[in-house]
Amino acid sequence: MSAPLAAPLAGSVDIDRRMSPRLVLSRVVALCVVELQKLSHDRSELLTRAVQPALWLIVFGVTFTKLHAIPTGGVPYLDFLAPGVLAQSVLFISIFYGIQIIWERDAGVLAKLMVTPTPRAALVAGKAFAAGVRGLAQAVVVYLIAELLGVHFTVNPARLLGVVAVVLLGAAFFCCLSVTIAGLVLSRDRMMGIGQAIMMPLFFASNALYPVSLMPQWLQWINHVNPLSYQVEALRGLLIGTPARLWLDFGVLILATAVGIAAASGLLGRLAR
């Protein structure tokens, strides 16, 4: 019985001087599996987190649809709003990961993960896509609520696959943004405040609630550099068929995620010290 535990893994010593894509992928899978396992043990969180998007859709969406106050180019306002609310609920989940990583630092979990043969970028990527997995579970709930309210989302599998990709990328970017901020502020209390302080501006300075053309000029500028807008545009294009620059949207999201992973992993050492 002692033999397998006594012997180190054969030939394992020299395989990871550089970060290989296979290694990154295996770490991402490991951390996503953990996220799914946690979700399966506590499904109540899916429901409690569904309250806020449900309110946005049922109260705000239904009311503004009746008012016809927002020009959406012939699309019912609820249909226009639903992809924005979906993006928002994914954003709220991802921003929580910065607080979580500080909690993990305080609890010794982060040090334990960082002492495994896992490059920092792979660890951050793993966390980011774990946020994506959770975001995806939430997206399913929001999709169902919207369907129940009569929103006509696409059922085209190719488009839905695109939606999955957008949700994963969006969640991954905002998770990295949040971990980056955590790496700068280093304290849970400050992180909670900042989390709140950036979530709403990101949401309001995006096209989630209203078309860009309605915004004042200064807000339009912010909107142009806000990845949430590209995420919403892609979701809207894929889910309800409004015009979208999908190549640009995906390009921005992929680039933002890559930059986010680089920034967050660069600051991870600060958290571990």
């Binding site: 893994l9 020299d14 001087r17 946690k38 305080d106 040090a111 043969p117």
Partner: protein
Amino acid sequence: MTEASAVEVRGLRYAFGDTTAVDGVELTVCQGEIFGLLGPNGAGKTTTIRAITALLPVPPGTISVFGLDVARRRMAVRRLIGYVPQQLSADSGLTGVENVSLFARLFDVPRRQRRARVDEALAMMGLTEAAGRLAKTYSGGMIRRLELAQALVSSPRLLILDEPTIGLDPVARASVWERVGAVRAETGMTVLLTTHYMEEAEQSCDRVALMHRGRLGTLGTPRELIDGLGIPGGTLDDVFRAYSGGSLDDDGQKGIRDVRATRRTAGRLG
């Protein structure tokens, strides 16, 4: 030295801002021994451990683990190390099996062996029956043993335990030492641990080093150190007092970061 070394530390210094946490530590941990790093809170034990695990940047040539330079071969060194931090850090939202499986994955245990290795690690820690339960239902002692299972699933050559029994009741403490001793006896694994429970160190460690204010006070087998003191019926506690000036507390070293948030799950002193 007759045995090859597991860990070599040469002239390790580390400062957090103006506070020098470790100031010129030199030590060698031999292969297969249980080595205890003792000292009061803030002595620099955890900082030394964090340097050995490459969590803190150290200059090349300062630390080597099984002949690998920690500064240059960080990932390779980590493959050889199983690490249990001071805090009770198992994930309470996962079952025992899931907690251990995560570490099997992170250490690239081949998929075909994974389940067997996870079960074996849990069995070694006496957690087979509790393996399917969420860790939030575990007692403190069980969580610590679960963490040992997490650290052992990758078959490390060096097991690093930072205050493994802090905050546990006497029965759980005895059980942790018993399991660590059994693993060492079975596998010949090297164990490096920190503690400030002198009695436990005296019973469990082959050799100990006493740290105080970032420096190494003395190093040897518990017997050697006690005999060297020349007090009839003396204990390691007396040695500790002799080297740390009688005080178990921080005496002015409170700024050191390794004490910062780490004692939340545990009593400050046993």
